[in-house]
């Protein structure tokens, strides 16, 4: 079995994101970037499956500018065998990413494709489902547990009502929740070794896909600020304020 894992480079989740004054986006210069957190879970799961002997190869793929490679290198350092970097100029939409991944999948023919459930920059939560549609594959989204069976996967999904279990045919797309596993850290020797693992670069223009954005970003602004609150000295004061001032209880 072969598993393809899609990893995206995003602003690190610890960074306090700031909106640019001219309203064209958020500040990314000199800002720490990392792998999109649930994509780390996706890699971890794939590597674990390989370690259990159920998969032969784990391939990590990213779509993005030159530096996006770092996320593939990181995936290689925690156990992926090989990397693919599809080079694009600027940010591209989930629909375009899914078309690019579709092309690569037609060539690579993986049995499973793991991705994050949501990118924490655009918060779109779309790419996995779109890719599944384009390939006419099943989709197991928001996965917190994956069991590999003979020709199917049994996946526990986190849904609003609680947990749902579905079975999908293989090949399948799985989008991972943070609770799926505990991603490992890359050890220094493994980071060094990863530098020698193969990383193929493909220019998006070679794929013959229209990746032009369909959505125009008109402006980006800061959300309205909450007005400063107060500290109360006691529980009595709190209850009194909630009752008489805020009138919410």
């Amino acid at each position: 079995m072969k598993i393809l894992v899609a990893v995206k480079r995003v602003i690190d989740y610890n960074v306090q994101v700031r909106v640019k004054e001219d309203g064209t986006g958020v500040v990314t210069d000199n800002v720490k970037m990392s792998t999109n957190p649930p994509d780390d879970n996706a890699i971890e799961e794939a590597v674990k499956i390989k370690e259990s002997g159920k998969a032969k190869e784990v391939v990590a793929i990213t779509v993005g500018e030159e530096k996006a490679q770092e996320t593939v290198r990181k995936a290689l350092a925690v156990g992926a065998d090989r990397g693919i970097h599809v080079k694009t100029e600027s940010t591209i939409e989930p629909l375009a990413v899914s078309k690019i991944l579709q092309k690569i999948i037609e060539k690579e023919k993986p049995d499973l494709v793991f991705m994050g459930k949501q990118a924490i920059d655009d918060d779109c939560n779309q790419t996995g489902q779109m890719l599944a549609a384009l390939l006419n594959w099943p989709q197991a989204t928001f996965a917190s547990k994956i069991i590999i069976k003979e020709k199917t996967l049994e996946v526990t999904r986190e849904v609003d009502e609680g947990l749902e279990t579905i079975e999908t045919n293989i090949p399948s797309i799985v989008t991972c929740d943070l609770r799926l596993n505990e991603p490992r850290y890359a050890s220094l020797p493994n980071i060094m070794k990863a530098k020698k693992k193969p990383l193929e670069q493909i220019n998006v223009s070679e794929l013959g896909i229209d990746t032009k954005p369909r959505i125009e970003q008109i402006k980006v602004v800061e959300p309205p600020k909450r007005k400063a609150g107060i500290k109360v000295a006691s529980v009595e004061e709190l209850v009194q304020k909630l009752k008489n001032e805020a009138k919410v209880i």
Binding site: Q217, V239, I249
Partner: protein, 317 residues
């Protein structure tokens, strides 16, 4: 222009967020049709036909639609989409799972999780866990949009009399199979629509200690929320998680107990009307969004809070 809204329901009742999505949909265009895909979902069809702004209810009935499987829902929706300018549904786990599958087959770039309709093609949506609001314009001819339910009021449920039409099912794709759903039933209000929410974080230290929260929730008729850390630690089930990767809540009153206030948590609650924070660390970021902050040990503050609430002779429910 017409809008097709995909209803969420359990074959008996309409799920509440569909009502919020209906409000947003009518702001896009007045010609609103609702698609009910289900198995013997006649009661749902009937109640939706009574919603004032709905012009038509399209009912597709088949056993294969007993449970939501995006693989089976998508082909019928894509077929119906032909006659519409917009396909919309709520941005909860139902809509998040389903809509992108539809959008991809319609070759449309989806606009996720909108909080405001500016015009039929322009919307506002939060990005970066709500740290920025983006105004975006969709240039696709057909638009697929998911709606953040808490940003729109629920529509009224009576007074309308929409036409009901039946449409044909498609074959099952057989790509996936529903096995089970473990639902945590409670008599408390739903987290997404409750007027008051009280949430516990890692500071609660154990699942057992959540009974301090439960007692107050019972008193205030509140829903119970949690931080991801509390869910990860196994104190409470995942359906209680509030935040960027959990649920978004906008209650009149949100009480955060033993929660530090990471941006990912704030993303799910900072639009609440009144926020209370109880935390023993005076520097915790949660205090920066709290209207009323109480720097205290929760194990002393919560029992006292309940005691004070018990003293009040009137509590709004």
């Amino acid at each position: 222009m017409s809008v097709l809204l995909i209803a969420e329901h359990d074959n008996k009742e309409i799920r509440p967020f569909t009502l919020n999505a209906i409000t947003a949909a009518t702001q896009i265009d007045q010609d609103l049709h609702v698609l009910v895909i289900g198995n013997k979902a006649e009661p749902v069809v009937k109640s939706i036909s009574e919603i004032p702004n709905v012009k038509k209810v399209i009912h597709i009935d088949n056993e294969i639609y007993e449970n939501y499987l995006a693989e089976n829902f998508t082909p019928v929706i894509v077929k119906k989409a032909e006659n519409y300018s917009h396909i919309v549904c709520s941005a909860n786990t139902f809509g998040k799972n389903l809509m992108p599958r539809i959008a991809a087959l319609l070759d449309t770039s989806q606009v996720s999780d909108i909080i405001k309709v500016i015009s039929p093609d322009t919307f506002v949506r939060p990005i970066y866990a709500g740290n920025a609001f983006a105004t975006v314009k969709s240039n696709d001819t057909k638009k697929c949009v998911t709606i953040r339910p808490t940003s729109f009021d629920p529509s009224p449920t009576t007074g309308g009399s929409a036409e009901i039409v039946k449409a044909d099912a498609e074959e099952s794709t057989l790509l996936s199979k529903f096995i089970k759903r473990e639902e945590v039933k409670s008599d408390r209000p739903e987290l997404g629509t409750a007027r008051i929410v009280i949430s516990g974080g890692r500071g609660m230290q154990s699942g057992d200690n959540f009974k301090l929260i439960t007692a107050i929730a019972d008193k205030l008729n509140a829903a119970i929320g949690a931080s991801r850390a509390a869910v990860d630690a196994g104190y409470i089930t995942n359906d209680h998680q509030v935040g960027q990767t959990g649920k978004v809540v906008v209650p009149d009153l949100y009480i955060a107990v033993g929660i530090s206030g990471a941006i990912q948590h704030l993303a799910g609650m900072k639009e609440s009307k009144v926020i209370v924070a109880i935390n023993k660390d005076g520097e915790a970021p949660i205090f920066s969004v709290a209207d009323y902050g109480l720097e205290a040990d929760l194990f002393e503050a919560l029992p006292k809070f309940l005691e004070e609430l018990n003293k009040l002779n009137t509590i709004q429910k």
